[in-house]
């Protein structure tokens, strides 16, 4: 199995390099919204001194950490797979004796992520020089703790991304659903605004949803701002969502493939 992943990596890595222009567009897309949010909130914070106790530099630090965390935990499954389901080319992958999503799609995501990171990190360093974030609260322990949080965050985001993509087995309007899902992420994940600034009631809901586990929780963990009991609670919650996601994914995938093979795409 390890060999399969290794070879898939080689193929997907080589493929990713073929799409350099594409990558540049993605990178710009990636940078734009965090930087816009960063600019908006630092401006607001500067004019008022602070926003609910957060200074302009707090926002800078938050959003620059977000740039990296977001890249590490995101997934692009819908762009890899939905069209294959719709035009029937998924058939080629279904003929192979391995699970297409848990092998090829997963590796494709990782290859994309790695290549993006190679381009993103230099840009990120330049941004750090320009904006001077305050990373003084980051410790080796906080970074170490963030690793499993990021892995879990990606695991969850991958599974739920795959579930959304599988809706393509039933409808061609799957991209609209994905937009809606992304919007939930922006709000409940901590992209639009650090979650502690949301109204209390919304925060209450957000803390149990998987969205914050992908962005807000790892960021706060890196910055050493999560109390121990909340760390335990979030990891437990992450595992719970992972189990739910896995079960749901298996169900949707099986039903989806059955439907795919019934209509004969």
């Amino acid at each position: 199995m390890l060999r399969i992943y290794k070879r898939m990596w080689q193929v997907n890595w080589a493929e990713q390099w073929q799409y350099r222009a594409n990558l540049l567009m993605y990178l710009l897309f990636w940078l734009v919204s965090p930087i816009v949010f960063l600019a908006v909130w630092t401006t607001v914070a500067n004019s008022q001194g602070s926003v609910s106790g957060l200074t302009a530099n707090d926002f800078t630090t938050y959003y620059l950490t977000l740039l990296i965390v977001d890249n590490l935990t995101t997934q692009i499954t819908i762009h890899i797979l939905a069209y294959k389901i719709q035009d029937g080319t998924l058939s080629g992958e279904l003929l192979k004796p391995v699970h297409p999503i848990l092998t090829n799609t997963l590796i494709n995501n990782l290859a994309f992520k790695t290549l993006m990171l190679m381009v993103l990190v230099p840009v990120w360093l330049v941004l750090c020089l320009l904006f001077q974030p305050d990373f003084s609260s980051v410790t080796p322990q906080s970074l170490l703790l963030a690793i499993p949080a990021i892995v879990l965050g990606f695991g969850n985001s991958f599974l739920f991304g795959a579930i959304i993509t599988c809706v393509a087995f039933w409808t061609t309007r799957v991209y609209a659903l994905n937009e809606f899902y992304d919007a939930l992420f922006i709000l409940f994940g901590g992209l639009f605004v650090p979650l502690q600034l949301l109204p209390q009631a919304v925060q209450q809901i957000a803390q149990y949803l998987p969205f914050q586990l992908r962005i807000y929780f790892p960021i706060q963990l890196i910055l050493g701002r999560v109390p121990p009991d909340a760390i335990v609670r979030n990891f437990a919650l992450g595992l719970l969502w992972f189990v739910i996601g896995l079960a749901l994914f298996q169900l949707v995938w099986r039903r989806g493939v059955k439907r795919f093979s019934a209509v004969g795409a």
Binding site: G92, L94, K96
Partner: protein, 337 residues
Amino acid sequence: MQSNGRSSLSAPAAAAIVVDGLSKTYHVPEREGGFGAAVRSFFRRRHRDVHAVQQVSFEIRPGEIVGFLGPNGAGKTTTLKMLSGLLHPTDGAAQVLGFTPWERKPGYLRSMTLVMGQRNRLSWDIPAADSFLLNQAVYRIGDEEYQRTLAELDELLELAPIMRKPVRNLSLGERMKCELAAGLLHRPKVLFLDEPTIGLDITAQARIREFLQEYNRRTGATILLTSHYMADVTALCERIIIIHHGQLKYDGAIADLARRIAPFKLIGVALQDGAGGDLSRYGTPIANENGDGKQLIQVRSEEVAPIAAQLLADLPVQDLTIEDPPIEDVIERAFHE
């Protein structure tokens, strides 16, 4: 219809492929063109049942090469997709190598292949050699066996000069060779080939044909193939299965088909001094596309001898030939019967 002496259905274990009453019905939405129809169909979808395959049954012995023929839309590809596990049938059963295909067990997927002429198993952006390596891992082929098989495929298909180029830069024929190789690296025991020579020039077609013959001879693989090129079929298959409108029309030896479907012979006549003449009272005149200047008439097989004798007696015959009708015409006729 005829079952080619295989009517001893007793031992299914002996057959590589057993298909029993296989049916597939597609439930397809349908509407008329135009704005009004589009709006109406938004509220009320009309569906129509398309019976792509109906109650098809046959058996194929290990090592057989069988041609699977029929006009476009006859249900060939649907059948192949069901047998390779990509489609669930609406009704009926099938066993291939003892597996039910649409359960898609890894053991089954590792022992068969489906090669479709226009679909690619190969990644477009990278050289075929890289996709081959991926297949080696996916199909768990040992290094030694992989090298041996690849060398063999290279010998038969001359892959070496093309497998290092990105697939997108290959010609259609080169790509097809790589597709076949990718589909055969794991040495499948059963091959489903859907139009393996489509779009290829005559030379490339001939190469693929020779290759399939040789592969079958070396590995004893069972092959079920569809093709629009009768040359493929006559070169490779002793047995053919014809389906039309989803129903089995013929299953038997290709040689018997002419006798059953078209019990005719063609008599070609060249008259002295190149004279023409009306031969229609001897048989049905047929256009001659050989360019040898003969007039052709079609007569029933049992009347060949008396009519030939009559021709020789009546006319100043310089040359007279008696031929079977071309197999293309026979199959064409079988489709439309």
